[in-house]
């Protein structure tokens, strides 16, 4: 592509991506200084004063801090533990670790939270009921509707992403660093704390910070676990301003959202700096590198048991609980009686419920159309970022990374301020635009790595061999891009199928989506219908992920 055409393309993309990412932020800022949705432009600072002097605000901040730090610590510690076991020890069944790292793709956060509420809620949680029966207790021993419940669930949910950051760093760790510590006379524990963990510090910190950003933006856990227990965090506090009560106030929501957004963006900047540093830190020289494996000896089976329990808790249990609940008439401990009472009633109810069907239709539409448009945009953006290396393409890179830090519910409020001014308000297209803007980095990343893989020599050698540019495109470039396109599409589609945080703000009667409908069921306590619809959602996500993996493998082996 010649110079002027590629620079035109770069500026066009900057305009599109800029509109998608900067526009909601700008509207959020303007909105936070406005009187109200219908009085956009009447500027006031009242909303800030109202929000930040509210006596409840202090408690919300305190809760948020405990929740965010607690869950990030839990996920990081678990991730370090699992990554160490997988990369450095002879623990059996290592494939489990790979499964642990990809399940968040299959089980949406909302359903994971719901399944734990079904197990551990104080009135009829299955585990509580079972324990009360077994030990003839008067009160439920566990209450998931509490701060510790929130931390536990959010920590488990953020575990896979922390693992994906820490495990590669651990795997590429140069063992000579440890060995020289041992030779110098340090014990293996001392080596772990003085050498291994400090060298991995950038990766561990990066995982922790990403955990903070994600839990700050998390809405599923605070709404399903926190709200019934009256543990308010920023996300739910904001949600109450726009969704419950008679006086919804998008101005106050915007003012509150500003602080969440600023915190998020700052943390993501720190995160980027840290990941850049961790790449610098970890170096391996020479080929045929293999880290030495530590023999666990007697600890092997007990440690494996811990991993097994974690996998069970993360993967099998949530699905099993939902499946079980979708068949039984009301919450009861599994027993002969429960199994005899099983029926397809909830499934029938859901599949004949017009709103549920509409939400299914809307979600599928958003997944297919949204992912297709998102991937097309991603292809061009990734091309410019990777292949056209100008200052303008650097701007595009930063812009496209920006939305990675957007807390969905906050940016939803920004979009709300925007869409109300346009005819798109309350249409499916509002959701479509919002989805693509918020999840664009997830499409760009696989496409970028696909483009990076295509070294310019691969193109050039085809030309020298006598192939025309068109033939080169058809026989060399496109086949090499296909795996990236497929995985980008699937990733976006599966995220759109279960999208919750943006949708709770933007969805209106007629544009319900699956996750919003599930949240309504949860608020109404319709657990059976919720479970049936949830299983449908998991089915769609799983089918997408499995197809992606199969297609990916197919291309990799050729």
């Amino acid at each position: 592509m010649d110079h002027t055409r590629s620079s035109k393309l770069t500026w066009l993309l900057i305009a599109i991506v800029g509109a998608l990412t900067v526009c909601p932020v700008l509207m959020l800022v303007l909105g936070s200084f406005s009187e109200g949705l219908t009085a956009f432009g009447d500027f006031t600072t009242d909303k800030y004063v109202e929000v930040y002097t509210d006596p409840a605000f202090f408690e919300v901040m305190l809760n948020t801090t405990i929740f965010v730090l607690g869950s990030s610590t839990l996920s990081t510690v678990l991730a370090v533990f699992l990554a160490y076991l997988n990369t450095r020890t002879d623990i059996p069944f290592k494939f489990l670790f790979k499964i642990i790292s990809i399940i968040p793709m299959m089980i949406p956060h909302l359903l994971f939270s719901v399944s734990w509420a079904l197990l551990l809620n104080p009135s009829n949680g299955l585990i509580n009921l079972g324990l009360m029966e077994a030990f003839s207790l008067d009160n439920a021993p566990f209450n998931i509707y509490s701060m510790w419940g929130m931390i536990l669930i959010e920590g488990l949910l953020d575990l896979p992403i922390a693992y994906l950051i820490i495990a590669p760093a651990m795997a590429s760790f140069d063992v000579a660093l440890e060995e020289s510590s041992r030779v110098s006379g340090a014990s293996s524990w001392r080596t772990l704390f003085r050498i291994t963990l400090p060298v991995l510090r950038p990766a561990i910190l990066a995982a922790f910070i990403l955990g903070v950003v994600r839990s700050l933006a998390s809405f599923a856990v605070p709404s399903v676990i926190g709200m019934p227990g009256r543990v308010q965090v920023l996300a739910t506090h904001l949600y109450e301003m726009i969704a419950t009560g008679f006086a919804t106030d998008y101005g106050k929501a915007a003012a509150l959202g500003m602080s969440v957004l600023v915190a998020s963006v700052t943390l993501i900047v720190v995160y980027r700096a840290l990941t850049a540093e961790s790449e610098k830190y970890v170096t391996i020289a020479g080929r045929g590198f293999r880290p030495t494996v530590i023999e666990l000896g007697k600890a092997r089976m007990p440690l494996f048991f811990v991993v097994g329990v974690l996998s069970f808790v993360l993967i099998v249990l949530p699905v099993a609980v939902l499946l079980y609940t979708s068949f039984v008439p009301y919450s009861m401990v599994p027993s002969a009686r429960a199994f005899s009472m099983m029926s397809l009633k909830h499934w029938h109810d859901v599949l004949s419920d017009p709103i549920s069907l509409l939400s299914l239709k809307n979600s599928l539409f958003l997944a297919v159309v949204g992912a297709t448009l998102g991937v097309i945009l991603s292809i061009f953006v990734a091309y410019v970022i990777v292949k056209v290396k100008t200052r303008a393409s650097g701007v595009l890179d930063s812009l496209s990374y920006l939305s990675f830090s957007f807390p969905g519910i906050v940016i939803g409020v920004g979009f709300m301020w925007f869409f109300v001014q346009t005819p798109l308000y309350a249409t499916i297209w509002a959701l479509l635009l919002g989805y693509i803007a918020t999840y664009l980095p997830y499409g760009i990343r696989p496409m970028s790595s696909a483009f990076i893989q295509i070294h310019s020599h691969l193109e050039e050698s085809s030309l020298v061999c006598g192939a025309s540019p068109l033939t080169t495109m058809r026989r060399i470039i496109v086949p090499l891009l296909v795996p990236g396109i497929v995985s980008g599409w699937i990733l976006m589609a599966s995220m759109f199928v279960r999208e919750l945080t943006l949708s709770v703000v933007l969805s209106r009667p007629g544009t319900e989506v699956l996750a919003v409908q599930i949240l309504r069921f949860s608020e109404d306590g319709l657990w059976g219908r919720l479970s049936a619809l949830g299983i449908v959602m998991i089915g769609i996500s799983t089918a997408l992920v499995v197809t992606a993996t199969l297609i990916g493998n197919r291309f990799r082996t050729v």
Partner: protein, 361 residues
């Protein structure tokens, strides 16, 4: 097929500065020779190769391959790379990862629309030639570095190109494999009667492979010659220094005497290979370490006898590397490993005038 390059320049613009990657290069690469472009990184050798193959467009000049002008700024001729009918081996090999060995090698014939039978025959023949028989069905990425290199060579050769070009093809191999592959490549090219242009920064590779070497620096060709000419008889100090280890001693020309050019330098009066230089002018005396001959016992009255002292002595296997001090000059010498010498010993050595090279300052 010879290649003629006339007045080719190529500029890059970076941060407001113009960088001359190629600066008015004039060069004729003779047919059916292995011709090497040698120089330090950034000297423009790869840019020149990419201009020949058509992946870069020069800013001035004309390039012709055989009778065809493939690039001319003035006549506005620009033949795209796919129409030049060349073969090229890339530094990264550029083996397409989604294709088998067969598909990689067959590609140039497929895009030319050759018949299936002919393709199968030619691919088999070429793979036999590079000793990769039976590898047809393998995924190309599952091969070792040396094997990938031969696939790249087979792909470059299969369509019987007029010219084959190599862009540092051995630089990704480890030292031992590099030496083996270099020998193989020499053997392959020797059988072929083809014009080969080879780019490298490795002087040993250049000396071992080439029929002719062109040494480049900052976008210009400094000197062209056979490997022996370049090594023993370079005209330029830069070339003499770049092609091998050399002691460079400042000298002043005294005059010509008995077929030798005599110079004054820190080693005394030295007889050198005759050169056409003005009496009284400054020059650089270039002496390669292996031509410093230690004289044992009674020193005979030979030409260019110099006395010095051994400052350091390092055993490197096939020889001692000694630093010998003579007055203010310090010379690096390669000495027989069985010489009975110690650090601090006084030594005498002779310099064969044929290997005392005078180069421009």
């Amino acid at each position: 097929m010879d290649i003629r390059i006339r007045g080719v320049s190529k500029y890059y613009y970076s941060e407001g500065k113009t960088i001359k990657a190629l600066d008015d290069v004039n060069l004729t690469i003779p047919a059916n020779q292995i011709f090497t472009l040698l120089g330090p990184s950034g000297c423009g050798k790869t840019t020149l190769l990419r201009c020949i193959v058509g992946l870069e467009m020069p800013d001035t000049g004309e390039i012709s391959i055989g009778d065809d002008v493939v690039w001319s700024k003035d006549r506005n001729i620009s033949v795209p790379p796919e129409k030049r009918g060349l073969g090229m081996v890339f530094q990264t090999y550029a083996i397409w990862p989604h294709m088998t060995v067969f598909d990689n090698v067959a590609y140039p014939l497929q895009v030319r629309g050759a018949a299936k039978d002919r393709i199968r025959e030619s691919v088999a023949k070429t793979l036999r030639f590079v000793q990769l028989e039976g590898f047809e069905g393998r995924p190309a990425t599952k091969l070792s570095g040396g094997q990938q290199q031969r696939v790249a060579l087979a792909r470059a050769l299969v369509a019987e190109p007029r010219v084959i070009l190599f862009d540092e093809p051995l630089s990704n191999l480890d030292a031992k494999l590099r030496e083996e592959t270099r020998k193989e490549l020499r053997a392959f090219l020797g059988k072929l009667q083809i014009t080969a242009v080879y780019v490298t920064h490795d002087r040993v590779e250049a000396l071992a492979l080439s029929d002719s070497i062109a040494v480049m620096r900052s976008g210009q060709i400094i000197e062209i010659g056979t490997p022996k000419k370049i090594y023993f008889d370079a005209d330029h100090r830069f070339v003499a220094d770049f092609i091998g280890r050399a002691n460079l001693v400042k000298a002043r020309v005294r005059g010509v005497e008995g077929g030798y050019t005599m110079v004054d330098c820190g080693l005394g009066v030295i007889a050198c290979q005759q050169r056409d230089v003005a009496v009284g002018s400054e020059a650089t005396l270039c002496i390669r370490p292996e031509f410093i001959r230690i004289v044992g016992g009674e020193a005979p009255a030979a030409k260019n006898l110099v006395n010095g002292r051994i400052e350091s002595l390092v055993f490197v296997g096939e020889a001692y590397e000694a630093e010998i001090r003579v007055g203010d000059e310090q010379l690096l010498a390669k000495i027989d490993p069985d010489a009975k010498l110690d650090e601090g010993d006084a030594v005498s050595f002779t310099l064969d005038p044929a290997h005392c090279l005078l180069v421009a300052v």
